[in-house]
């Protein structure tokens, strides 16, 4: 059970984060906005919580270079608003952005949304980062330019670290131009039919930005296109023709809100859990058919899906996904559920432990996150 930590520290500068790490003995949890509080392993008891939501704001935005550096506690939603004023964006649309997820938290959880199909995840968008280690070392890697192969890419190590190596304090991001026009085309049908549509779509030259299937009666495939105001209609027509089957343009905002809600497991039964899975794209539709899922969002071209299942079925989900050559991690779950957060450990587990030992020898940060692996 998550217990109330005895102390919560709320630093507002990188130096205060460093001081907090150095001056606080014992084990530390790191929190941003709390949107992924229950993800991955159940946090073990800590002596203090480092709340980074006060370490917020843009440090430098260089519109001409399409880069921005921000404090890690900055909510991505707020950052997007600032960037939009310059016709730019961070090309990341994870479901929990709308709920205030922070840039640091999004990096730490390796979260991504539907547009990962084209833009990748945070790992592909972060070009530099500064992190505080357990001994107070501030480590900076990368820089402010999009192309850079000097030294090890330590920022990538933080991607998916769930806070176990220490708090990110500054993140430098690569930006993209905001599209001048965006639209969404939908076609209804079950997941296997959607998968056939996606196969033809990905073989076509239409360059979709996101391709997601949502469960329901009978289920729905959403395809996002971006482009110029004048050129988009012609591509929409080509897309509608390619999909056939009653495909049509729909209200994108509503459609993607519905997607985000399903991804977050909203409206699920109180004893349900949300699991994120990944596998080869063509394996996904048949795999989903074998899971006891009550709700699904499936990136049929990326191989990444989020499924809502009865919490008691989580071990079975891990096994089924692993048998299909995929990976899985637990996201939200009922407070009472004692289920494993991760599937079988990867072959690199000993290496992961060695890295943890070098960077955080006393295991001070985020204990429990990789339970049962380490």
């Amino acid at each position: 059970m998550t217990r109330a930590a005895p102390t919560t520290l709320r630093p507002t500068t990188p130096k205060e984060v460093r001081d907090a790490v150095l001056d606080t003995p014992g084990r530390l949890a790191i929190t941003g906005a709390g949107t992924a509080r229950h993800w991955a392993g159940r946090p073990a008891g800590v002596d203090a919580t480092l709340d980074l939501s006060g370490l917020s704001g843009v440090i430098a935005h260089n519109p001409g270079d399409m880069t921005v550096s921000v404090h890690a506690g900055t909510p991505l939603r707020a950052l997007q608003d600032e960037l939009a004023a310059h016709g730019q964006r961070l090309a990341l649309d994870a479901a929990r952005v709308a709920r205030g997820a922070t840039v640091g938290g999004l990096v730490a959880t390796a979260d991504a949304g539907p547009s990962a199909l084209v833009y990748g995840g945070m790992r592909d968008l972060v070009i530099g980062a500064t992190t505080v280690l357990a001994d107070g070392t501030m480590v900076r890697s990368g820089g402010h330019v999009i192309k850079n192969v000097a030294g090890y890419d330590v920022a990538k190590l933080m991607h998916g670290s769930y806070g176990t190596f220490g708090p990110l304090v500054e993140v430098v991001l690569r930006l993209h131009p905001a599209p001048r026009a965006t639209t969404c085309v939908a076609v209804d049908g079950p997941v296997d039919r959607a998968a056939e549509h996606v196969l033809r779509l990905m073989a076509s030259p239409l360059e979709p930005i996101a391709v997601e299937w949502l469960s329901g009666e009978p289920g729905r495939l959403l395809v996002r296109l971006e482009g110029g105001e004048r050129t988009l209609p012609a591509r929409v027509a080509r897309l509608v023709e390619l999909l056939g089957d009653g495909a049509r343009e729909v209200d994108g905002a509503a459609a993607w809100d519905a997607h985000a809600a399903l991804t977050a497991g909203s409206g699920a039964a109180p004893d349900a859990a949300v699991v994120r899975i990944g596998c080869a794209p063509r394996t996904l539709a048949p795999l989903i058919g074998r899971l006891p899922a009550t709700a699904v969002t499936a990136g049929l071209a990326t191989g990444v899906a989020t499924v809502t299942v009865p919490a008691t079925a989580v071990p079975e989900v891990h096994d089924t996904v692993a048998a299909a050559g995929g990976t899985s991690v637990l996201r939200d779950r009922p407070a009472s559920a004692e289920v494993p957060a991760w599937g079988p450990a990867p072959s690199s587990l000993a290496l992961l432990r060695a890295v943890k030992t070098r960077l955080d020898p006393d295991a001070r940060f985020a204990p429990g996150r990789f339970d049962p692996w380490m």
């Binding site: 001409g64 270079d65 399409m66 016709g87 390796a110 991504a112 990962a116 990748g120 790992r123 592909d124 280690l133 070392t137 480590v139 890697s141 820089g143 402010h144 330019v145 999009i146 192309k147 850079n148 192969v149 000097a150 030294g151 090890y152 890419d153 330590v154 990538k156 190590l157 933080m158 991607h159 998916g160 176990t164 190596f165 993209h176 131009p177 001048r180 990905m202 073989a203 239409l206 360059e207 482009g227 110029g228 050129t231 012609a234 990944g278 596998c279 080869a280 794209p281 990326t302 191989g303 990444v304 995929g326 990976t327 991760w342 990867p346 690199s348 290496l351 890295v355 070098r358 692996w373």
Partner: protein, 484 residues
């Protein structure tokens, strides 16, 4: 301590006699990579044929603490594959099979010795291609690309090797075989694959790579545009990006580079222009047409003196042939040259090019520029004559240019890596703490420091020596004296 006979026998027992090379004439073939100024003849060269063989070789090295260096095609330009004296080179060229092309999942599984161009050749029948395209793509290997996180002209839009590798199977320095990354974009725990990508052979040996393939775009539009100044060309790049257009490639060449490339290839470049841009757009017909019109308009606005649009695939290939041959072609206008590789924020291109010109004239040396303008990745070519005794001055100028890039808020390297070449410049870009953490990370992979030691991170020995490239003394070459 030289490798003694019993150790050699262990390698022979594993690989067979013909795949363990110790004949000094043959080991000499491996004495350097593309950075030919630095040479070290390895004690042994091992040529395994399978991943298990590679693991076996590394296990023997681990047991005896023998340093080893992985080698692909040896085209690296930063001395990453420079052998270690008293160590072995593990050549990966015999692991060169395309194991699988899976069009439905848009990926390919490769052994490390497959060349970059072979990947696209294997994917092309399915309408797919591998996006990262270093100019050396005909010969460089995917293992080398992974180690260097290589880029190419099309990386502005499509990203670098790290953005296209789903997983790598690697032999760690203790001889264990692990997979980093997975079959999907979803990631489990910290991105160790991302750390390995670009680690320059210092964290392990790649034995298998799974890459993403992209669909060949519907159309590609390429134009060549001349400008009255390098600054005007730079402004065009900024304006294209500001207009929300992400070209597939934007390359710039200055007068000296154009002269060399045109002389070598007859690609149709203008010999009387101070700067030329190659701009390529790709995508759907609709988007490309609209953006192409915008790009032309931006070029005109900045005083474009000639705009040539490739009218056919053959013409497009010709434009690219000139650009891709530019490095080698510089050999035609100068007896010797050094290729530098640094990055600056795109908005500082004009300023940095001006500074480079100034520094060149102060040093009394010519500098040719041909580079990936869209990502701010410069390749200043410092021209000199070794015979005229200009080597040292050229090396100093080249290092000063790399460090200038850092001063401008950029990076020491955009694609060629740090290797042995720029390890001593790393403290210009990173603080002591940053470097110490990188060293801790390295030691998690390689506690005994046997995996490509002396590369990437500065070591006191390396940096204590006189800056500049090591060149053997004639007496050393004659085998009469030796540096210890």
């Amino acid at each position: 301590m030289p490798l003694d006979a019993p150790i050699r026998a262990e390698f022979v027992a594993l690989l067979g006699d013909q795949d363990v090379i110790d004949d000094p004439v043959r080991t000499r073939t491996y004495e350097c990579d593309g950075l030919t100024g630095n040479r070290v003849v390895p004690e042994l060269v091992l040529l395994p044929r399978t991943a298990d063989d590679v693991a076996g070789c590394v296990r023997i090295c681990a047991r005896h603490r023998i340093p080893f260096v992985a080698r692909g095609a040896g085209t690296g330009l930063s001395g990453g594959a420079l052998p270690v004296a008293d160590g072995v080179v593990i050549g990966l060229n015999r692991l060169n099979r395309v194991l699988e092309v899976d069009p439905e999942n848009r990926r390919a599984v490769l052994e490390p010795g497959v060349t970059n161009l072979e990947i696209t050749a294997a994917a092309a029948p399915h309408g797919l291609y591998f996006a990262p395209d270093p100019s050396s793509q005909q010969v460089c290997t995917i293992g080398g690309n992974v180690a260097e996180n290589s880029g190419g002209a099309h990386c502005l839009k499509y990203g670098f090797t790290t953005n296209h590798v789903l997983s790598v199977e690697v032999v760690l320095p203790d001889g264990s075989l692990v997979t980093l990354g997975s079959d999907s974009a979803e990631q489990q725990g910290p991105d160790l694959r991302g750390v390995f990508l670009g680690s320059e052979g210092t964290l392990g040996v790649v034995t298998k790579v799974t890459v993403r393939l992209l669909r060949t775009p519907e159309v590609m539009r390429t134009l060549l545009a001349d400008f009255p100044s390098v600054a005007a060309g730079g402004q065009v790049v900024s304006d294209i990006v500001a207009a929300g257009i992400v070209p597939a490639a934007v390359e710039m060449m200055d007068a000296l580079a154009i002269e060399a490339a045109e002389g070598a290839t007859g690609a149709g470049y203008s010999l009387d222009t101070p700067a030329a841009l190659v701009v390529e757009l790709d995508g759907t017909v609709e988007e490309c047409d609209e953006q192409f019109a915008q790009v032309k308009e931006i070029c005109d606005r900045h005083g474009c003196t000639r705009l040539h649009v490739a009218g056919s695939p053959a013409e497009r290939a010709k434009i690219w042939r000139g650009r891709k041959a530019a490095f080698a072609a510089v050999g035609r206008i100068s007896p010797d040259y050094i290729v530098q590789d640094g990055v600056v924020p795109r908005t500082r291109l004009a300023e940095v090019l001006e500074r480079i010109e100034q520094m060149g004239s102060e040093a009394g040396l010519r500098v040719a520029n041909v580079f990936h303008a869209g990502d701010g990745n410069l390749h200043p070519l410092v021209l000199f004559s070794a015979a005229a005794g200009e080597t040292e001055r050229a090396e100093e100028l080249s290092s000063a240019i790399a460090e200038l890039c850092v001063e401008m808020g950029g990076s020491l390297s955009g694609e060629h890596g740090i290797g042995t070449d720029k390890a001593c410049s790393m403290p210009k870009m990173f603080g002591e703490e940053d470097l110490a953490v990188m060293d801790r990370l390295r030691s998690a992979f390689d506690p005994d420091r046997i995996c490509n030691p002396g590369k990437l991170l500065p070591t006191p020995r390396l940096c204590g020596e006189k800056p500049g490239h090591y060149r053997p003394h004639p007496l050393e070459e004659a085998g009469l004296i030796e540096r210890l």
